[in-house]
Amino acid sequence: MAIAREAEERTLTLTVNGQEVKAAPGQTLLQVARAMGVEIPTLCHDDRLEPYGACRLCLVEVEGARGPVPACATKVNDGMVVQTHTDKIRRLRKFVLELLLSNHPLDCPVCEAAGDCRLQDYAYEYEVNMSPWGWTPLNFETRDDHPNVARNPNRCILCGRCVRICRDVMGIGCWGFTNRGYDTIIDTPYNLPLQEVGCVSCGQCISTCPVGALNHKRSRYAARHWQTEKTRTVCPYCGVGCELILHTSRGKLVRVTADVGSGVNNGNLCVKGRFGMEFVNSDERITSPMVRDEEGNLVETTWDVALDRIEQNFKRIKSESGGKAFAVLASAKCTNEENYLLQKFTRAVLGTNNIDHCARL
């Protein structure tokens, strides 16, 4: 009983938009709101990062507070009364968005992020008036020195997510804020090429960018976000088993992403998972069975001819020398089902336990 009472005491009760809700100490207003299905807009927030409270889009009203507070960085208290979408709050959010758009390039028709851009989504949701203060798009030089990471500083809203994910989640720190005021950009130390400042090419900065400032270079102009099919699967590289979202279009793999809040990787990927799946599209793939001809060359043939050749030789060797004349190598890159069938074939059909694979590698 005592334990149950203690647990009950540890649960807080607050009111959000008139609805009573339970929360655990340490949770933020943003987490509690999202758990109850209330969408609070954020630009500088990523669940993988510590709360930052910079973009001011997630401002909410808390009864008794001196002014609006950022939901992402405010811990819940017992008895809190919160309003997330009052007229005043909507006006504040709209004001922030108007300021952001006053120097944003608005090149959405050719921006890779279009359709998957928080700024675009919120500008629409909050019915932003274009440029009440005029429109002066940024005009920084575009750097383009990494094979996979495309940079466009003019689309950057300085939310600092790339800076923080590289420093805090990756433990590296390739990115930082450079210059001051209107001239502030995100850049590498001394403006050096990314690969010279310890970049491990994971593309985590792309994954967290809420706009089109950082994107997948190799899939530019391949397909719009809404034109691709998305399939949830597992990475074929190392044994961590990260969940990948494969974006495909017209029979080709276009790009790879991961979802925050899902999979053992929680939205994180390394260079191989994010940029290494293009082998699927390769023209070097074998697309026909091959057999060795009389001159000793491998030549393309039909499945029937290839299987005939296997049947004849396997049967001949089996009848002459039995199962012990066979050996089979399974594969650490094939599925469980395929390895199961192969070992069953080896043991039950060929008649040998000579099966192994490079498990020791």
């Binding site: 469980n336 069953k344 694979h357």
Partner: protein, 512 residues
């Protein structure tokens, strides 16, 4: 892994030995980075100054091949100071006295002399690990790929049991598996001595069980041959036919030259793969398979989690998924199989494999209970014996697989081959971040090949200067087995007299 990936940061002390985690398992390494941010302590034992060694509180830069001595030195100090977990040892383990006696054969000072690690650092590491409320050990090929690999692993297990660091959150012995489904390929019986689920092939009861399930009489009732034994048996003419699915042993197995000669020699070679690999070039018949993006199935990851692989693209024209190809070949041999889908195969796996007994495709689609704080992860961690069983995130919480944990009394043995006048360098092998295994997939991905096009040899600046080797220049590396030509990377990650290169560097430099 005895524990789970999202459990790593629960440890107060993380001890990484023989794993270059940030390069070989980059996303898992983020859990270590997270732990460091939370103020946890990191000990790294590695001959190289790898990235995590730079972040570690203590870097034990041991000589290659001296792991047993290092671990014994640590355990000797723990026992000398009385820091062992006496309750855990008494309740859950066997053979402690013999193990305890074996520690008398090595002092911390002797361990320091063998490993090159200062005695004070060995004592410090022992103290950090033993005094932590929860400490885990993470290891990989740096422990297993030695001729003393088994003793290295047993030493790691000794250390965990000695301090009771097993069976609880934030503890455990956590080997990291290197390939997407190497865990699954082992679980499925892709090894010479076991059926699925580690059921021994020479156990009469299990033979009878599989014969009943498969409706056959099994011809071979003893252990089969390992890869190395297969290569030798080909040389001796005992093995005449070889069927290889999705492997490239020329690059993945030790002693390239020997493997290549065996593949030339074998009477009939079938290779099934997605690219014409170095190995496929020797084949009599090549069968075109699909990539994992073009088929359904499951992979089992390093934390024993069975996860769904889903088809995102139709198979490239002319190719077939491996399971279909195996079935075609089996039916040519009279098997009469009619597997209609990977799911259909998994039903049979679950029926014959105790650890996978509760696995169904339906369950793999659904998120489990709110067992995790932040991340909901699909998939089931084996053992999962029944459909009601939730899976097992942490092994050995109550008892070990054999009941009580078995301490091993071990002696240190020096590496099999040492340096001499003719071969004055020690070459250690490793992985590189950007490429994977034999490069069959990663070298066909332009986004990766553009970053690091060739295998690199890490060499110390002092040695490079002495030998006139320039950063980025081509070098010839010759061992007692053969030669490779990697590109030099002059770096203090390696000490003088040691070099390191990816284990799968090609013998000839690839053109283009």
């Amino acid at each position: 892994m005895t524990n789970s990936i999202n459990d790593i940061h629960e440890a107060e002390v993380i001890f990484i030995i023989g794993s270059n985690t940030t390069e070989a398992h980059p996303v898992l390494a983020l859990e270590v980075v997270k732990a460091l941010r939370e103020g946890k302590t990191l000990i790294v034992a590695d001959p190289r100054r790898i990235d995590l060694a730079r972040k570690a509180h203590l870097h034990l830069r041991l000589r290659p091949g001296t792991n047993v001595a290092l671990l014994k030195g640590m355990m000797r100090h723990i026992v000398d100071m009385g820091w062992e977990d006496k309750g855990f040892i008494a309740e859950r383990t066997d053979n402690y006295e013999a193990f305890r006696e074996s520690l008398n054969h090595m002092t911390v000072e002797e361990a320091a002399a063998i490993t090159g690690v200062p005695a004070a650092d060995i004592r410090k590491a022992a103290e950090l690990y033993a005094m932590a409320g929860a400490a885990n050990i993470i290891y990989a090929m740096g422990i297993t790929q030695h001729h003393t690999g088994t003793n290295n692993v047993l030493s790691v297990a000794n250390l965990a049991m000695l301090t009771g660091n097993i069976g609880r959150p934030g503890t455990g012995v956590n080997p990291l598996r290197g390939q997407s489904n190497v865990q699954g390929a082992c679980d499925m019986g892709g090894l010479p001595d076991i059926f699925t689920g580690y059921q021994k092939v020479d156990n009469p009861e299990l033979i009878a069980k599989m014969e009943a399930a498969w409706g056959v009489t099994l011809e071979d009732r003893v252990k089969g041959k390992t890869i190395m034994e297969i290569t030798r048996a080909v040389d001796e003419g005992e093995i005449r036919a070889l069927y290889i699915m999705g492997e490239n042993p020329i690059l993945s197995d030790p002693d390239q030259k020997h493997v290549e000669e065996s593949l030339k020699k074998v009477e009939f070679l079938v290779v099934q793969d997605i690219f014409l690999t170095e190995t496929a070039e020797y084949a009599d018949v090549v069968l075109p398979a699909t990539t994992s993006a073009e088929k359904d199935g499951t992979f089992t990851n390093t934390e024993r989690r069975i996860q769904r692989v889903r088809k995102a693209l139709e198979p490239r024209e002319g190719t077939l998924p491996d399971w279909r190809i195996v079935q075609l070949v089996a039916n040519r041999m009279g098997a009469g199989w009619d597997y209609r889908s990977p799911e259909h195969i998994m039903q049979e796996v679950a029926a014959v494999t105790p650890q996978y007994g509760g696995v169904t495709y339906e369950r793999l689609e659904v998120l489990p209970d709110a067992r995790f704080e932040q991340t909901d992860v699909c998939g089931l961690q084996w053992p999962c014996p029944t459909e009601e069983h939730p899976g097992t995130p942490i092994l050995h919480t109550q008892q070990f697989a054999r009941g009580r944990g078995l301490f091993s009394a071990l002696e240190y043995a020096a590496p099999d081959e040492g340096v001499d006048e003719e071969y004055p360098f020690t070459l250690t092998t490793g992985r590189e971040l950007v490429h994977y295994h034999t490069g069959t997939m990663s070298r066909q991905a332009p986004g990766l090949d553009a970053l690091v096009p060739t295998g690199r040899l890490e060499i110390n600046p002092e040695d490079a200067r002495r030998l006139g080797i320039e950063h980025g220049g081509l070098v010839q590396v010759t061992s007692r087995r053969g030669s490779i030509q990697p590109v030099a990377w002059v770096t203090d990650r390696v000490s003088p007299d040691w070099c390191s290169c990816p284990s799968t560097t090609r013998r000839r430099r690839p053109t283009g």
